[in-house]
């Protein structure tokens, strides 16, 4: 008898920016979510993970699985950074699932197996992708950036995973060799006929056979698709009736988010689900993973999160394609003024400061109660020595105390907005503001914190927190 296990929470992250109508020099038609210049798959996965952790006890998480095809490091684990940013325990199992669009569902399957086997109580799966399409390629109107996360556990399950079925399938339909930036593809009819169209029906049939379930048993179909047309055709072909809702894969709002795509669609499906709903989830890439999930009464108790719906409420259209090209490094622009190159950070200092930089820990003085960031040895107010309690600021809201916009500052998105912010409940931080509209920046504006890549020097991606205008 298997342990009852499944999804206990979900979260998502969709970047603020879009290529779309209104972007000069962009002819892609539909909107496509675009990561900011300071985002990558690690930062987006961290944001989705934190969204998924709302209301959860972060100490109860026993594993973090990160899925992506666009890992910022080829040697150095992304999951370790995300677990730190999400302020999880250190005695947990972290692993990266990579190299396949199916890595998101692969991580979900592995998390399920770990929970069922009793080796972990709760495993957080965070999938993210930032695939850069070659300019003017067939992929440019399709690819979007984003992340999704689900927690897998055996208590307070909101969607039990009843059955799974996986198969592997060796084919060159999409690929990207080591050292290259852009996805390559084979001739479309071959790729579709012998890849997606071949594998998904077999996986769904396999799941039905194994489970004894039929199409009519499913209230919702969450199906990976490369684009809207192929997705629509496949959904029709799989034989689901009018009683089954085909979950919108968000191609017209977000784009295909690679390894995160089908999990983001699942998060959107859960937002609309009712107890008793059965969901069929099918992920694709070098094979397929199919899951049968059954939504429980716990879904009605799940707390507020931003999820897909909440993230879609805020967006900004990028003004011109050139800006996008700068952000993605597709063109190399001169800095605003002559400055010496940035010195690399010290790995020893990064390591020493990981709690304050990655977990965004400050301290509260046990003597006088003063909250301060970064952590100090001697209290700034009462001079008490080494008598502090750590405080996590990353999930606190803040307001803008003061700022300046630096028009000569080193950023691909000038002006650089440098701020002093005051946290709700106390504490102040000097940081930069990102995802901002210059016209909207004003003293007192509500802010939240966002995990970002500050810069990359000497191959070191320096991650840290910035403030962003509140997305609520």
């Amino acid at each position: 008898m298997l342990i009852l296990a499944g999804i206990t929470s979900y979260g998502a992250y969709i970047p603020l920016f879009r290529l779309g109508e209104g972007t000069a020099g962009w002819s892609g038609g539909l909107e496509r979510a675009v990561a900011g210049f300071d985002e990558d798959s690690i930062t987006m996965a961290a944001a989705a993970a934190v969204d998924c952790l709302r209301g959860a006890d972060r100490k109860e998480v026993d594993g973090l699985y990160f899925a992506t095809t666009t890992a910022p490091y080829l040697e150095k684990q992304g999951a370790a950074v995300i677990a730190e940013a999400a302020d999880l325990r250190s005695d947990i199992f972290t692993v990266d699932f990579a190299n396949s669009l199916r890595s998101g569902t692969a991580a979900l399957k592995a998390a399920l197996d770990a929970v069922r086997a009793g080796s972990a109580g709760n495993v957080l799966v965070a999938a993210a992708d930032l695939r850069i399409p070659q300019p003017r390629s067939e992929f440019e109107p399709l690819f979007g950036d984003g992340a999704a996360a689900v927690m897998v556990g055996s208590e307070n399950v909101i969607a039990e995973i009843e059955w799974t079925y996986s198969l592997t399938h060796e084919i060159h339909d999409l690929w990207r060799p080591a050292g290259e930036v852009f996805v390559r593809s084979s001739e479309d009819r071959f790729a579709t006929d012998e890849g997606y169209s071949e594998v998904i029906p077999r996986a769904v049939a396999g799941l039905m056979e194994r489970s004894g379930l039929k199409q009519d048993d499913f209230a919702c179909l969450v199906l990976y698709g490369q684009d809207a047309r192929k997705h629509r055709q496949m959904a029709a072909r799989l034989g689901f009736g009018a009683g089954t809702r085909v979950q919108d894969p968000l191609f017209n709002k977000v784009g295909n988010t690679g390894a995160a795509s089908v999990l983001m669609t699942l998060a959107a499906a859960l937002e609309e689900s009712r107890p008793g709903d059965r969901i069929l989830l099918a992920g694709y890439g070098d094979g397929a993973d199919a899951f049968a999930l059954r939504v429980t009464g716990e879904i009605e108790k799940i707390g507020v999160r931003r999820g897909v719906r909440g993230h879609l409420k805020s967006k900004k259209i990028i003004g011109d394609y050139l800006t996008y090209a700068k952000w993605r490094g597709l063109i190399d622009i001169a800095p605003p003024v002559r400055r010496p190159p940035l010195d690399p950070p010290s790995p020893a200092a990064l390591h020493r400061e990981r709690d304050q930089n990655i977990r965004l820990y400050g301290v509260k003085c046990n003597k006088c109660g003063c909250l301060q960031y970064p952590p100090q040895r001697v209290c700034t107010r009462c001079q008490a020595r080494d008598d502090f309690t750590p405080v996590r600021f990353s999930d606190r809201r803040a307001t803008l105390f003061t700022y300046s916009m630096d028009y000569l500052g080193p950023t691909p998105d000038p002006p650089l907005v440098v701020c002093f912010i005051d946290f709700e409940g106390g504490g102040r931080m000097a940081c930069t503001m990102t995802d901002r509209d210059v016209a909207e920046v004003k003293v007192g504006m509500p802010l939240e914190m966002s995990f970002r890549r500050l810069h990359t020097v000497a191959g070191i991606h320096n991650y840290y927190w910035k403030c962003i205008p509140s997305r609520d």
Partner: protein, 395 residues
């Protein structure tokens, strides 16, 4: 504590023209400043018993020997001081204390900076401590001070346009003063409209809200009042010295208002106490202060007690700080126009006060000049080093 009042005298000073000295090295600048000071004091290099060198942007390459070598100060002690924009004033302060302590009775203080060889615009600064994690905002000086301007406008309800116009008047005043000074880096007058329309560097500060980045050197010869009497009639006495260092309060404490800089208040408090000054607005005849940015000069007016809190604008609008006003400030053009070779600036300020108190300031001579003040501010809000020095004519 007895303090420094009337225990040390300045008997000679020198200052190069500040500017972009493409044809002069740091050594050239040091020699020019020192020999003007020797001539002014009527001494030669052999009379110097000890020296202090202010030089900020050394990146580990400079020692006291840099000055020994340039001036051939054979085998006497030379100490290099580096303390941000207070470098020269702090070198001066340490030299004063050595004379007041009775260790020496004739010493040289020299500040120099050669910024324009760095090959970059602005100051050749690293953004964070060497080998740090480099996560702090890359916020050079204009940004840091601009944040105070943003908050000041907000705090006192000035619109962006009102704030810009108020700050612009400070730049216009300093350019007018600089135009009267043959040693200033910039010697052209500008208009309020020019300042307001200039490109933004770090909002709300535009190009003309920012001081010049320059090469230059300045020097002082210091002695005891007893020996000074034998050297010249118009020597100048040190009346008070204050130095204050912040400990990042502005960032660590969420109730720090950012519309004043406590380091200035503290350093001035020490200097005023030593000098016996109760009402600076009335008792000080001229001040040469650290106008690295226009907003800095505005805050200094209030922090030094020249203007009541929040009311500097009224004094700016009434011309109180103009050359012919009640309390002329930056009579030599200030950092804005005289320029800012960081390690030399404090001594350049003292040079101006020295000349004004001697009545030798030429076209920019103020009518009443008995007590003069200099002020430096180095670093970031909440983390400043501030130096204030007060000088008086011999009684």
């Amino acid at each position: 504590m007895p303090g420094i009042r009337d225990r040390v005298a300045v008997v000679g000073m020198g200052c190069t023209r500040f500017g972009e000295h493409w044809h002069k090295s740091a050594e050239d600048l040091m020699v020019e400043a020192a020999y003007e000071a020797y001539r002014d004091a009527g001494i030669g290099p052999g009379d110097i018993q000890a020296a202090w060198l202010g030089f900020n942007y050394a990146f580990g390459t400079a020692r006291g020997t840099m000055l020994s070598h340039a001036l051939k100060l054979d085998y006497i002690p030379v100490t290099r001081v580096e303390n941000a924009c207070c470098t020269a004033t702090d070198a001066f302060r340490n030299a004063c204390y050595a004379v007041a302590a009775g260790i020496y009775d004739l010493v040289l203080v020299l500040g120099v900076e050669k910024l324009k060889d760095a090959g970059v615009s602005g100051l050749p600064v690293s953004y964070a401590p060497i080998w740090g994690s480099r996560v702090e905002p890359p916020a050079p000086a204009p940004v840091q001070f601009a944040m105070a301007a943003t908050r000041y406008f907000h705090h006192y309800g000035l619109s962006y346009e009102e704030g810009k116009r108020t700050l612009a008047k400070i730049a216009v005043k300093n350019h007018r003063n600089g135009s009267l000074n043959p040693k200033a880096h910039f010697q052209k007058e500008i208009t309020v409209e020019q300042v307001i329309k200039a490109p933004i560097v770090a909002s709300p500060l535009g190009l003309f809200d920012c001081c010049g980045v320059s090469d230059g050197a300045a020097a002082a010869v210091i002695t005891t009042p007893e020996r000074a009497k034998m050297m010249r009639d118009d020597y100048i006495l040190v009346k008070g010295l204050g130095l204050s260092c912040g400990s990042k309060q502005a960032v660590l404490q969420d109730d720090y208002d950012m519309v004043h800089f406590e380091e200035t208040v503290a350093a001035a408090g020490t200097a005023y106490q030593e000098a016996g000054i109760k009402n600076p607005r009335e008792e000080i005849d001229l001040a040469v202060v650290h106008d690295c940015f226009t907003i800095t000069e505005l805050l200094i007016y209030e922090d030094l007690g020249f203007s009541p809190r929040g009311r500097a604008k009224e004094d700016i609008d009434s011309g109180f700080f103009e050359l012919d006003g009640g309390l002329p400030v930056n009579t030599d053009g200030g950092l804005k126009c005289f320029g800012h070779p960081v390690g030399a600036s404090g001594l350049r300020m003292i040079y101006e006060v020295y000349k004004q108190l001697q009545g030798k300031a030429g076209a920019r001579q103020v009518k009443k000049a008995n007590i003069g003040l200099t002020h430096n501010l180095g670093g970031w809000p909440g983390h400043f080093t501030c130096a204030v020095a007060i000088f008086g004519r011999r009684e």
